[in-house]
């Protein structure tokens, strides 16, 4: 997933994540496209509150609404999946 999606969009998403969640020790460049955002080890380690914050940020910054929690689980897997969702809504 995500091979055909512009790197600019992914960079914007990474910036949104870092700024929205006020991450002090992580820069957008540190986040790999396929790094899982939630879960245990080898993930960005986000929690459910971060999730709702990201849902609201995606709507605010990219004007697309994630209106279903099951959808949110799929969309917020990693940067690739967020980018794919935003692009699918733009088409």
């Amino acid at each position: 997933m995500g091979d055909n999606i512009g790197t600019d969009l992914k960079a914007e998403i990474k910036k949104m994540i870092v700024e929205t969640l006020n991450m002090q020790d992580i820069t957008p460049e540190d986040i790999e496209d396929d790094l899982p955002l939630f879960g245990g080890e080898n993930t960005l380690g986000l929690d459910s509150i971060d999730a709702i914050e990201l849902v609201m940020a995606v709507q605010r910054d990219f004007k697309v609404r994630i209106d279903d929690q099951n959808l949110a689980r799929e969309v917020l897997k990693d940067v690739n999946s967020i980018a794919a969702f935003i692009q699918s809504k733009a088409e």
């Binding site: 509150i49 709702i52 849902v55 209106d67 279903d68 929690q69 099951n70």
Partner: protein, 338 residues
């Protein structure tokens, strides 16, 4: 044995999702939001006291089972429903139905759905799943909250179907006997919308509908007196987020799901005003999502002083104002529909 023709899909909410999947299996194509709207599922209730729960709670949709009953009353869809006293009888009957190729919806305690990660599972007797097969000692489960067909051991399913406590399932199951060729949407949509309007701004007790939202905002200020300590208060405040976003609400306390119903209704009835109302309901859902986030944040940070609870109460009161205005406007729109 697996009922191959049954198509598994995820859904926003287990009860409407299960119903939608079973209707599709029977040949009636209908979307989940339409089921939710036609069953007048949107609701609000602030419950100060509930059996077996020692803390107030609020609900954002009608009582479990009511959606299906409303659909049954309003359409020619025929359901076969049954509760059981005997666990053996319930299991044997279920096996017999599956052997006949009939997918069966069961009310269960969500906690026993062990294909869901443990940290996501809580005891809640109001979950609905569809049993679509059995292999050895395992049942094949279509669960709206799980991306693919799951498996559950028969012993676990027994525990889930016969869990005790508030709203105990008592082995409740249903399946669909027959569906009509078509549904008279033009007739039913206004009826269903009027029912929801009545639930929200009609003559209701102070804990129901828009009055209930205001009661919630007010009573919330006294929650510190009802809790043991700040950890307990934090837990209860964070549950606001869970009820609004995670309990199969589809997000925004079912308001997004209802907004989608209004959009679909506008397309069916060719009614632009309903489309506008759909957009307004989406915005109302956004407001509930803000409340959800605010509650989660102050709960997590233990930032629970009186001023924060007042701020939360103010946000909830704003939802009451927005919803009251919305339903009054919706009433004018729906009364014009011929």
């Amino acid at each position: 044995m697996i009922i191959e023709s049954f198509k598994h899909n995820m859904a926003a909410h287990c009860e409407s999702g299960t119903l939608t999947a079973l209707l599709k299996h029977k040949g009636l194509e209908i979307a989940e939001p339409m089921i939710f709207g036609l069953g007048s599922g949107l609701y609000f209730g602030y419950l100060s006291r509930t059996p077996n729960l020692n803390f107030p709670m609020f609900i954002l949709r009608t009582k479990p089972g009511k959606l299906r009953k409303k659909i049954s009353q309003r359409t020619d869809i025929k359901f076969n429903t049954k509760r059981f006293k005997s666990q053996d009888e319930a299991e044997q009957e279920l096996d017999g139905l599956i052997a006949k190729g009939i997918p069966v919806a069961c009310q269960v305690d969500f906690y026993y759905m062990d294909y869901i990660p443990q940290w996501e599972r809580v005891h809640a007797n109001i979950h609905f799943i569809t049993i679509v097969g059995k292999e050895g000692d395992e049942y094949l489960v279509s669960d709206s909250y799980f991306p693919k067909l799951a498996r559950i051991h028969k012993d676990n399913l027994r525990k889930a179907r016969f869990a005790g406590g508030y709203l105990a399932p008592k082995g409740f199951r249903y399946y669909i006997e027959s569906v009509p060729e078509t549904v008279n949407y033009k007739k039913l949509i206004p009826v269903a919308i009027k029912n929801t309007i009545n639930n929200m701004i009609g003559v209701q007790p102070p804990f129901i509908g828009v009055r209930g939202i205001r009661t919630f905002a007010k009573k919330l200020q006294a929650w510190p007196k009802l809790t043991r300590d700040v950890d307990h208060l934090s837990h209860e405040i964070m549950k606001i987020n869970v009820f609004l976003e995670d309990q199969g609400t589809g997000g925004g306390g079912f308001r997004f799901l209802y907004a989608t119903f209004l959009r679909q209704a506008s397309e069916i009835l060719q009614n632009k005003e309903l489309e506008e109302m759909s957009k307004k309901m989406m915005e109302i859902g956004d407001g509930w999502r803000n409340i959800s986030y605010f509650a989660a944040k102050i709960g997590k940070n233990r930032d629970l002083g009186p001023e924060k609870l007042q701020e939360l109460g103010q946000m909830i009161n704003e939802r009451a104002d927005a919803e009251e205005k919305f339903y009054k406007e919706l009433k004018l729109v729906v009364n014009k529909i011929k």
